[in-house]
């Protein structure tokens, strides 16, 4: 299939000749895919946080560091005596560190057992009526020996609304970028077809079907799509860990890493890239293949 190979090779050469257009196609499609991937990562992680923190309707109450275990356990009665509190579950320091360990992984906590345990005693408090959350938290803060009340639940709520806002925004931007990608790819392919109009006119005059003429140009569009998909996966792979680590220092949590979802994402990206590439080229091809002979050549 050397003529066929010839056209595909020419297609590659043209990708290079039309550097500017090719780069524009790649740039826009990569932006589109990276943004999609980021939105997916954000949504997955925020919903994890919301699930684990916001869902169990319990609030953490941390006690002063200097309380003994006995004093700490006794504070439970005071907490339960407050209005709107159903239950106050004592959490031993060791249990607390164990729970964190399970969430965050071993390494960080290697030296934090026994006397080196930096955590205070705490209670998991369950409220009856969550609409009175703020009021009840204030009451808890009024109890002597209470150091702080965790605000994970509020963070989760804020995150959830922020993430749904960002997701909606991203969807629109992704849609716009996808349309721009289609447009740019179809123009890139149109330029290639123009560069090959002579071969195309000969192919048609010797009886090549449009499907046959089309293949090399579709291949070209698909290459743009696949390269974009690969580059996007690479970019997300390189960037996501850094972003997650810096977020982790603000809000500690066992985040879903990009490597955990890399294969389904890569698969979806390839499919999307191939689709956009093929569609983009198909648009321009079917338009130019309506012409014949001299009309193609513009003579």
């Amino acid at each position: 299939m050397s003529s066929f190979g010839y056209l595909i090779k020419e297609g590659f050469k043209n990708l290079f000749h039309n550097r500017l257009m090719t780069l524009a196609s790649l740039g826009v499609l990569i932006s589109c895919l990276v943004l999609t991937g980021s939105a997916v990562m954000l949504t997955v992680n925020v919903s994890n946080i919301v699930d684990s923190v916001g869902d169990n309707n319990s609030t953490k109450v941390f006690l002063d560091d200097n309380l003994t275990e006995l004093e700490a356990v006794y504070k439970g009665k005071e907490l339960k005596a407050l209005d709107n509190i159903v239950d106050a579950q004592f959490v031993d320091k060791d249990d607390a560190i164990q729970a964190y360990r399970e969430q965050l992984g071993e390494a960080v906590f290697a030296n934090m057992t026994g006397d080196d345990n930096p955590l205070p005693y705490s209670f998991n408090v369950t409220m009856d009526d969550l609409s009175r959350y703020d009021e009840t938290v204030n009451a808890i803060k009024g109890v002597s020996g209470v150091a702080s009340v965790s605000s994970h639940r509020e963070v989760a709520q804020k995150l959830a609304s922020l993430s749904s806002f960002i997701t909606t925004m991203s969807l629109w931007i992704i849609l716009a970028l996808a349309i721009i990608s289609l447009f740019i790819i179809s123009n890139t392919i149109r330029m290639t077809m123009f560069a090959h109009r002579f071969e195309i006119s000969i192919m048609k005059s010797v009886g090549a079907t449009n499907a046959f003429v089309r293949v090399p140009f579709i291949v070209e569009g698909v290459i743009i799509g696949l390269v974009s998909a690969a580059a996007s996966v690479g970019i997300l792979y390189l960037l996501s860990d850094g972003v997650i680590n810096s977020v982790q220092s603000i809000l500690n949590f066992r985040y879903t890493r990009f490597t955990e979802i890399i294969w389904p994402v890569a698969g979806a990206f390839c499919a999307a890239g191939v689709l956009v590439g093929a569609l983009g080229s198909a648009v321009s091809i079917s338009r130019s293949l309506k012409h014949e002979g001299n009309e193609i050549l513009g003579w």
Binding site: S2, S205, V206, N210, F212
Partner: protein, 233 residues
């Protein structure tokens, strides 16, 4: 003796939409299988239009066209490639791909219709030998004379074993001796059973071969050496 019809035009008119030019006006022509026909006429007479209608590069404004048993005026676009596979087309300007060798240019026509490589490897050298270019297979078109380039173009037209060869001024870009050779070659091919249609300006050439000549002027057939209706003129 009545043969089998290869090309039949019945009252064919062609008006180009873009400029309203009446290129052909109620043309009726019948060409049998195995004929060799020259089409002559002044510039702008409608000769190329006549050929474009046969290869369905253009569609008639009115009238009916049958080529090799196929009705062109109602032929859907997707069937056109299969019509073209029954004909070989030769252009005045050769239309060879400069980056390909002679061999590749001819093989290209076979690849375009899905022929297998081993078939191509046997057929292309045979055809190149037939047109007298057996030793030029590895050359590029730019290394050949005009006459040789036109023979490559002819080889490409022949390689898929068409029933009909259409040549629009095939000798327009080459010198007279070479022109004679090209027509000679077409005449050889015709003797093997292929119908040949040649548009040309060169009256001397036409005379020396003594074949059927159809003259078109201003979109009309004004004489046809084989048609008794025109003999009087």
């Amino acid at each position: 003796m009545k043969g089998i019809t290869m090309i039949e035009f019945k009252n064919v008119s062609k008006v180009y939409d873009s400029n309203g030019v009446h290129a052909l006006d109620k043309v009726s022509i019948n060409i049998q299988k195995g004929e060799f026909v020259f089409i002559v006429g002044s510039s702008g007479a409608g000769k190329s239009t006549f050929l474009k209608l046969i290869m369905r590069e253009e569609q008639p404004t009115s009238g009916t066209i049958v080529v090799n048993g196929m009705h062109l005026e109602k032929m859907p676009r997707r069937k056109v490639p299969y019509l073209r596979r029954t004909m070989g087309i030769v252009f005045q300007d050769f239309r060879l791909i400069s980056k390909m060798t002679v061999y590749e240019n001819v093989a290209f026509a076979m690849r375009c219709v899905g022929k297998k490589n081993d078939v191509i490897k046997k057929r292309v050298p045979y055809i190149l030998e037939l047109v007298g270019l057996g030793d030029k297979a590895k050359d590029h078109p730019s290394e050949l004379s005009g006459g040789e380039q036109q023979r490559v173009s002819l080889a490409r037209a022949l390689v898929n074993n068409p029933a009909l060869i259409i040549a629009d001024e095939p000798t327009g870009n080459i010198d007279p001796e070479m022109s004679y050779e090209i027509i000679q070659l077409l005449s050889e091919i015709n003797k093997r059973g292929t119908t040949v249609l040649v548009v040309t300006h060169e009256h001397e050439l036409v005379k020396s071969f003594g074949k059927r000549v159809i003259t078109i002027d201003d979109g009309r057939v004004v004489s046809d050496s084989d048609d008794e209706r025109y003999v009087a003129i």
